[in-house]
Symmetry: C2
Subunit: 349 residues, 2 copies
């Protein structure tokens, strides 16, 4: 592994998608353009240009590397990279409304600043724009796809729509989990496969689909993305309870305060440990005080929630790298996919 090259990979792929992403936002109507530009960190709430934090750009990087991995130029993956980025943004904007989150990356969320109606309509417009771009890349100035590429575009659009749909179902299940306590590791993993895995799986294969990679390559890349997403999510779940607030930017025991039912909790609740009933009672309580929160976190650990979630993350991560070895890929792009996977995981531990 060589994660020192990852900033270079991300910088290169970001530069590749920037012109098209700007053209995509420019294609929005006058009312929606400033909202999108704000969400993307291009302007502040007064419309002034800022060179802000725009996210790591992992998903578009995966899309571009997946085109290169099947031996085609990076440019082949750009339409997929931009579409994935827009779907990701759509989901963040709507999720912030649903989860009542007022801050994202230290900035006010779209709904907190402009209202719920504007956030709904902006999310809807980005989702729709993503579909349009993948169905007709000319929309953002990409003219390399010819008539004979129609099946590739259709397959890419299906990949995107299926992943979007799975992501939405995962979010719906996550919302349902907040109201119930009868969950186990399997149902939680199914939720996370939808909420996090599906779009990463699509990101890691859509470039290869557009590039005309073979079925074994596409399947392996998708699996790599799904498993990487699941590993990432398991670690995120651990940090959501035991993460250092200085590193995560969240409160201590953040997920417990928000009544989220994440993987460590699901594992603990389904364990045979004698403390399970006590834990369930603490988690069901409408109001939970500091003492109870600390006690709940300790019980989750006692019931194996932390170590088993760590084991799950490790297993998923190894699977994600393993699938890349079983199929032929262009070596440099494959190495970069491996580097990127380490980067995604390492920064979270």
């Amino acid at each position: 592994m060589d994660t020192t090259t990852v900033p270079e990979i991300l910088s290169r792929t970001r530069k590749l998608i920037e012109p098209g992403l700007h053209r995509a936002v420019d294609s929005l109507s006058m009312e929606l353009r400033p909202l999108a530009s704000y969400h993307l960190g291009w302007i502040d709430e007064n419309g002034q240009e800022i060179g802000g934090d725009q996210g790591k750009g992992i998903r578009p990087a995966l899309a571009i590397l997946s085109a290169e991995a099947v031996g085609r130029p990076a440019e082949t993956g750009i339409a997929g990279a931009i579409a994935i980025e827009l779907v990701h943004d759509f989901s963040l904007i709507h999720d912030d409304v649903i989860d009542n989150d007022t801050k994202r990356r230290h900035r006010s969320t779209v709904w907190a600043l402009f209202g719920i109606g504007q956030a709904i309509i902006l999310g809807d417009s980005l989702n729709s724009l993503a579909q349009r771009i993948i169905l007709d890349p000319k929309l953002i100035g990409i003219r390399t796809f010819k008539e004979e590429d129609t099946p590739k575009l259709l397959a890419a659009a299906k990949c995107l729509a299926d992943a979007t749909s799975a992501m939405i179902s995962g979010q719906a299940l996550d919302m349902a989990f907040e109201r119930i306590s009868d969950i186990n590791a399997a149902s939680c993993l199914a939720m996370e496969a939808g909420k996090t895995g599906a779009l990463l799986g699509c990101a890691a294969s859509i470039g290869a689909i557009l590039a005309g990679g073979n079925e074994a390559q596409i399947t392996a890349l998708e699996r790599y993305g799904v498993e990487l997403g699941m590993a990432f999510q398991a670690i995120d779940d651990i940090l959501g309870i035991w993460g250092d607030p200085a590193a995560t930017g969240k409160q201590t025991f953040s997920d417990l305060r928000q009544h989220k039912k994440t993987l460590p909790i699901a594992i603990a609740l389904a364990s045979q440990n004698k403390h399970v009933n006590e834990l369930a009672k603490l988690l069901i309580a409408e109001e939970i005080n500091e003492f109870d929160i600390e006690r709940a976190a300790a019980l989750i650990e006692e019931c194996g929630g932390k170590t088993m979630a760590q084991a799950e993350a490790k297993k998923r991560f190894e699977t994600s790298l393993g699938v890349l070895e079983k199929v032929g890929f262009e070596p440099k792009a494959k190495d970069e996919l491996v580097d990127l996977a380490h980067f995604v995981i390492d920064r979270k531990f």
Copy 2:
């Protein structure tokens, strides 16, 4: 014209889409299925099956007739009809949140009953499902499309995504209108072309696209739908101010109370009438009393808002029927499209 046959047309097309629509809803996750069934009027808020009012089904009927109009069986249009219906439902569910509407067809709206988060996620899921169905009709058991039909599916998916995008932009513009008074007939018509025209244009042509109709046929059908939608909307705008509450189910002067800027208002505000300033002041007022509302309605009429909106509706309606005469269509389906157009308009005058 023979609008007596319209209930038969609508009943026939509803029966055609019903199995697929049920399969579509069945494909949703367990959390989303009851919400969708509630919105569609299949179950009540307690989950009990009801044979409620499910809407007229104009859009799916247009989609199916458009396949028949180019000489293919009704079945060819079913995937398009269902996708259009789902996009329409998605837009209603999100618009109800945005417009803060608690009732639709005398039932509580989804957000009013289940919360804003659930309404957002349900709308998102139906939008995504619509795209998936048109990209892969097998999803709802339609197996008539073969590999050589890929370009038709791609074109239909583009039609749907473009119309969805235009509809969302129209809604964004409509929201912006509530905050500004500097609008004229042209900007209002542009908004309504997006908000209402685009999806009707897609509905009226997507079946023909799936059926492999020629370009002249597809263009004419789309124009027929757009113009019919604009005619419908102009009449809806007139009824939104001067409609009889007993017939519309809304309050008197409903749109004025909601600060909506519809076509009659846009026309009146852009007129040279000496009362324009008085009207503008009344419309800007945060609080508007009964006396002022009546005065505003009278001034809009005085400024030509009502007669010119009526003229616009008439012109659009005639254009919509006119375009059908310039291209060759299967006569029975064309006659039914004409009947349907009369029905859409007649019930609103």
